[in-house]
């Protein structure tokens, strides 16, 4: 592929990305947001974060070795640490380090 073709391909990918991010704002540009959208703006973030957790874990197999145990244990540790210290960065970094260790020993 020529350079200009690669550039056009990346621009097409960029256009698609920015549309997914900007479309809702463009649709409601310059007018009042209907109550149903205000409602969605409140309930979508928790629903979406839960969806993203599942999205991150989508390739984990619970029926083959190591049965998703590294993910389960690392998330349990992440969660426990968060409830204990309420520190996002500490929980995330310790959970990830534990996961990397578990991946190598299990």
């Amino acid at each position: 592929m020529a350079d200009w073709q690669i550039a056009v391909m990346f621009l097409a990918a960029g256009l698609a990305t920015v549309i997914t991010r900007a479309l809702p704002a463009l649709v409601f540009a310059g007018r009042d947001v209907p109550p149903v959208v205000s409602y969605l703006a409140k309930v979508l973030p928790p629903a979406t974060m839960a969806m993203l957790v599942v999205f991150c874990l989508r390739k984990v197999s619970v029926i083959t070795q190591p049965f998703g145990l590294p993910e389960l244990l690392a998330l349990a540790a992440t969660g426990a640490l968060w409830f204990w210290r309420k520190n996002v960065i500490l929980s995330v970094l310790v959970g990830t380090a534990l996961y990397m260790v578990l991946l190598r020993v299990m």
């Binding site: 097409a12 979406t48 998330l75 969660g79």
Partner: protein, 241 residues
């Protein structure tokens, strides 16, 4: 003091205040960005496409998919449609931030353009420190996140062949970040039912449809359930239970 100095001090104050909130993203983008850069050059493309893509695309999964399509035929329409589907989840972020970003002018344009999964997650958990302006604070977070991505993807592309240590599993930093923000959100009771809907619908779609097909149907089910349960969920919001 002269004006540029005052301005630089203000910028520095916001970056310093926003930096702690971006540390998990720094760890995650460092790894994902290196991976993207290495994949780009080992696929035979010039490393200069890394910073180019970090600016014109700026989407982790979108860029990884793009490399696969770049190895096939020149097909911008196919690229456009594929990335549209891969990044459809961003529609939820745009929808959730319409009112928060309203009236922020050019700040809003940048915040919408740079709204990745990770930046959206941090926006949902970060508290604006006292005395700081919310739009500038969020822009500082978004700008630093994009800077990490730009540097990491470029480093992977230009220096990938010199990187030899095993960092398998460090991408878990994203999973852990999203998980902690989930926990943070369900501390507030009205968020529990929506989180449960998001989790249940995603798991159901994943089990039925498998890892490559589940996301869009999961989004549709989540939207449907949230709309169907609106009167009930809004009642919980008002009652605070």
């Amino acid at each position: 003091m002269n004006a540029p100095l005052v301005y630089a001090q203000a910028v520095f104050r916001y970056l310093k205040a926003a930096f702690p909130a971006t540390i998990p993203v720094l760890s995650g983008y460092w790894f994902l960005g290196l991976a993207f850069g290495v994949l780009l050059t080992t696929s035979g493309f010039s490393p200069w496409w890394a910073p180019f893509a970090a600016i014109v695309v700026y989407a982790g999964s979108g860029q990884l998919v793009a490399i696969g399509l770049l190895l096939a035929d020149f097909d911008p329409v196919g690229m456009f449609l594929t990335v549209l589907l891969v990044n459809a989840r961003h529609l939820f972020y745009g929808l959730s931030t319409i009112e928060r970003f309203r009236g922020w002018g050019p700040w809003r344009a940048y915040l919408v353009y740079s709204l990745t999964d990770e930046t959206f997650a941090v926006f949902n958990s970060a508290r604006v420190p006292d005395g700081l302006d919310e739009k500038r604070y969020l822009t500082a977070i978004a700008g630093m996140d994009q800077f990490y991505w730009l540097v990491a993807t470029s480093a992977g592309a230009f220096a990938g062949e010199f990187i030899h240590f095993d960092v398998t599993g460090i991408d878990f930093v994203m999973t852990a970040l999203f998980f902690v923000i989930c926990l943070q959100q369900i501390e507030s009771k009205p968020n529990r039912a929506p989180a449960l809907i998001g989790f249940g619908a995603s798991v159901l779609a994943l089990v039925v449809l498998g890892p490559d097909m589940f996301l869009l149907p999961a989004m549709a089910v989540i939207l449907g359930l949230l709309l169907a349960g609106r009167s009930k969920l809004e009642g919980m919001e008002v009652a605070g239970v």
